[in-house]
């Protein structure tokens, strides 16, 4: 398959891995204290586990799974608000599929549907807009979530709705911005992430310049990476090169997709419809300043929260969960006391077990059995 198989070629991967092992031997890091590379995006996390890339790395390198899965950083209270809106008899509530199972305090949207709410899975906000046109007597609400990856299509959808003068369409906005999150991570004490793999699709929209502060203010190298195994291996190699050469810059491995300036049209659409608006609550990470996104004044009429006024609900994460520590590389998923017992994909307590892209869910799916022994030993230690 074109544009897939070329980037999964086992021979090329082998060559790249051999080069990586050789170069990594020259790093100032050791197997005991490896160079920690944070892959920010859940898509990267998924690829790492699916292809076993972490097992192919030299011992001097370690992946840290970042907060870039928009579903697993959803606070429970926001899901409760969604369920409250969806419960209105005249509402058709539309969501991406993987948000359907995220639990709120009162259950998930799937549970809301079981209770009789009209909750539908869509593949694009444009599908929700179509539903609004077809059902003028109903209120259609789209659960808009995601980083800069999904912001443009929500923006374009709202521009279209405004042009058509639709009055029965609105969005429940849970879009979030990546850059403030990365800044917040780096400002935390005792976080020792050494380098970043930045998500290619976010960069396709925002370009590469917004990452420069990571080099200049925090002295960490960053590579914008594609999602196929060869993309990621090459990106890791580029990071290792930077460290070996004592340089620190933003590089773009994903040039076939990501222009340095990003997508200006998409940026303009986002600017017209959305604005950064103060702090936003993130599941597992708490409040992050200037990471929330809301509609600009011109589009306020499409704000479902204004239209339905759901109760504001703040639900604390389970204090035993170590989501924040996993996200910052302080521990591995299976080292959390809830992993695999109180927190599983069937019954997720923590943020990262919720979505299939979350670090804990991926670890559970791909690494659970092999770590079971280690996990039990650790639990015995904790209990003792």
């Amino acid at each position: 398959m074109r544009f897939v198989d070329e980037f999964r070629d086992p021979k090329l991967a082998k060559t790249l891995i051999e080069r990586l092992h050789k170069r990594a031997a020259q790093l100032p890091y050791t197997a005991e204290k490896p160079m920690q590379i944070m892959e920010v995006c859940g898509g990267h996390t998924h690829a790492i586990f699916k292809f076993g890339l972490d097992k192919l790395l030299p011992p001097q390198l370690e992946f840290i799974h970042g907060p870039g899965c928009p579903v697993c950083v959803l606070p429970m209270g926001r899901i409760d608000a969604c369920c409250e809106i969806a419960a209105h008899a005249d509402v058709i509530f539309c969501t991406f599929g993987d948000a359907l199972r995220v639990p709120g305090k009162q259950g998930s949207l799937l549970n809301a549907r079981e209770r009789g709410a009209d909750v539908r899975v869509v593949y694009s906000p444009l599908d929700a807009l179509k539903l609004a046109r077809e059902n003028p007597q109903r209120q259609v609400v789209f659960f808009a979530l995601g980083f800069e990856t999904t912001l443009p299509v929500t923006a374009v959808t709202l521009q279209q709705a405004r042009r058509e003068g639709l009055t029965n369409f609105s969005i429940f906005c849970q879009h979030i911005s990546l850059i403030p999150t990365l800044r917040s991570l780096l400002q935390q004490d005792d976080v020792r992430i050494d380098a970043f793999l930045a998500p290619g699709h976010v960069s396709m929209v925002i370009g590469t310049a917004p990452y420069h502060f990571i080099n200049t203010q925090f002295d960490k190298p960053l590579v914008v990476s594609g999602f196929e195994p060869l993309d990621m291996l090459q990106s890791v190699f580029m990071l290792v090169e930077q460290v070996c050469e004592a340089s620190c810059k933003t590089e773009n491995q994903y040039r076939r997709i990501v222009p340095e300036e990003g997508n200006v049209l998409a940026q303009n659409a986002i600017r017209e419809v959305f604005q950064l608006s103060g702090s936003s609550e993130w599941r597992g990470l708490g409040l992050i300043e200037e990471s929330g996104i809301s509609l600009t004044e011109a589009y306020r009429a499409f704000d479902a929260e204004r239209r339905f006024s759901p109760q504001t609900q703040s639900v604390a994460d389970d204090p035993r969960s170590r989501c924040g520590d996993v996200l910052t590389g302080r521990c591995k998923p299976h080292e959390c006391p809830l992993f695999g017992t109180g927190c599983t994909p069937h019954n997720a307590f923590g943020a990262l077990m919720v979505s299939s892209e979350g670090a804990c869910a991926a670890w559970y799916q791909y690494r659970y059995q092999e770590n079971k022994q280690e996990q039990q030993e650790m639990k015995q230690k904790v209990a003792g």
């Binding site: 398959m1 086992p10 599929g97 069937h346 059995q369």
Partner: protein, 340 residues
């Protein structure tokens, strides 16, 4: 009046004249066979005739509730015949007789019902299977989704066939009879209105003609048709029942490019997609070549391939494209597409 005749009404489930007419004109004429035509409450089948074919009966049932009810490669009626016939075939039996129960939603177009019944009849007839008894219920609009069909079937197992997961041995080979996920991808594309021009259709088919020759091969240990849950579910069933593990090779999985494409786009696995005309066979290493040859000699098995083997370690593992092996978990629920 004519409008009411175009759709199924509550009268068609009343037991009265409308129902009798529908049974007569729709079901009896389509399924037409001596057992059904007797119009008794139960089909009376000759034990002597069955005994001549083997020493055990296989008896199975399944219900079909698919959306949409028409799809490229078939419809719910064909599915209801193939599914139950295949459950019999992979037990080692020759499918012989089916029952079918219809639950019809008030308002279902008669034309749709006619198309479904006609394809059921043709599929059964082509496979030498008789639909010998049945039942029809009509429920009010909204109480069911257009049409639900239940079929039960019996078949006869020859005396020397003893397939089952308990026969599986370490070192056995795992074979699939063709490309994975064609049915699941076709239905997903239609149901979710993805509008992709995939150029594929459901693999819905009666497998009996392809399976029958395998009954003469010594070393065939277990067969299952890989329907809901896909090949992944079958591998886990085999592993659990036998106490052994199974290791499969991702590079060996036969998957059509269009199915791979839709899976890549939506973050899904072809191993979890439903099939309606594919089986998984576990055979001894000695029987592998013979089984592959027999499968490939039939049009339904042209893409048959060995995908892995049975291992001592009681886990289902997948060796990925880059050679790294990982445990293959069963999805805890129906997989949902990822956001990005």
């Amino acid at each position: 009046m004519s409008e009411r005749n175009d759709v199924v009404t509550m009268a068609h489930g009343s037991g009265g004249r409308a129902m009798q007419q529908m049974i007569e004109r729709m079901f009896l004429s389509a399924f037409d066979n001596p057992w059904l035509n007797e119009r008794e409450d139960g089909a009376r089948l000759s034990l002597a005739a069955l005994s001549q074919q083997g020493d055990r009966l296989a008896f199975t049932t399944d219900s079909y509730v698919i959306d949409p009810i028409f799809f490229p490669g078939g419809n719910i009626g064909k599915l209801a015949v193939c599914g139950t016939a295949n459950d019999l075939s992979v037990s080692g039996a020759t499918p012989a007789y089916l029952s079918c129960g219809f639950i019809l939603e008030e308002g279902l177009p008669m034309d749709d019902l006619q198309k479904i019944v006609s394809l059921m009849a043709q599929t059964a007839r082509d496979a030498g299977i008789a639909i010998v008894t049945g039942d029809t219920k009509v429920v009010q609009r909204g109480a069911a989704d257009k049409i639900f069909i239940n079929t039960a079937g019996i078949g006869v197992i020859p005396g020397d066939v003893a397939w089952g997961a308990g026969q599986i041995q370490c070192g056995d080979k795992v074979i699939v009879s063709g490309t994975l996920g064609d049915h699941g991808a076709t239905i997903l594309n239609l149901r979710e209105q993805l509008g992709m021009d995939l150029g594929i259709q459901s693999d819905c088919a009666v497998l009996a003609p392809m399976v029958t020759p395998l009954r003469t091969v010594s070393g065939v240990h277990a067969l299952r048709d890989a329907t809901r849950g896909g090949v992944n579910a079958i591998l886990h069933e085999f592993s659990e029942a036998s106490g052994f593990g199974i290791s499969i090779d991702e590079n060996a999985l036969p998957v059509k490019p269009a199915v791979r494409g839709i899976c890549e786009l939506l973050g899904l696995e072809p191993l979890n997609f439903a099939n309606e005309g594919k089986l998984v066979a576990v055979v001894s290493a000695q029987a592998e070549d013979t089984v592959l040859k027999l499968l490939r000699s039939h049009p339904l098995g042209a893409d048959a391939a060995t995908i892995g083997e049975v291992t001592e370690n009681p886990q289902v593992c997948l060796r990925g494209a880059l050679g790294v092996s990982r445990q293959l978990m069963l999805p805890h629920t129906e997989p949902l597409p990822r956001i990005c």
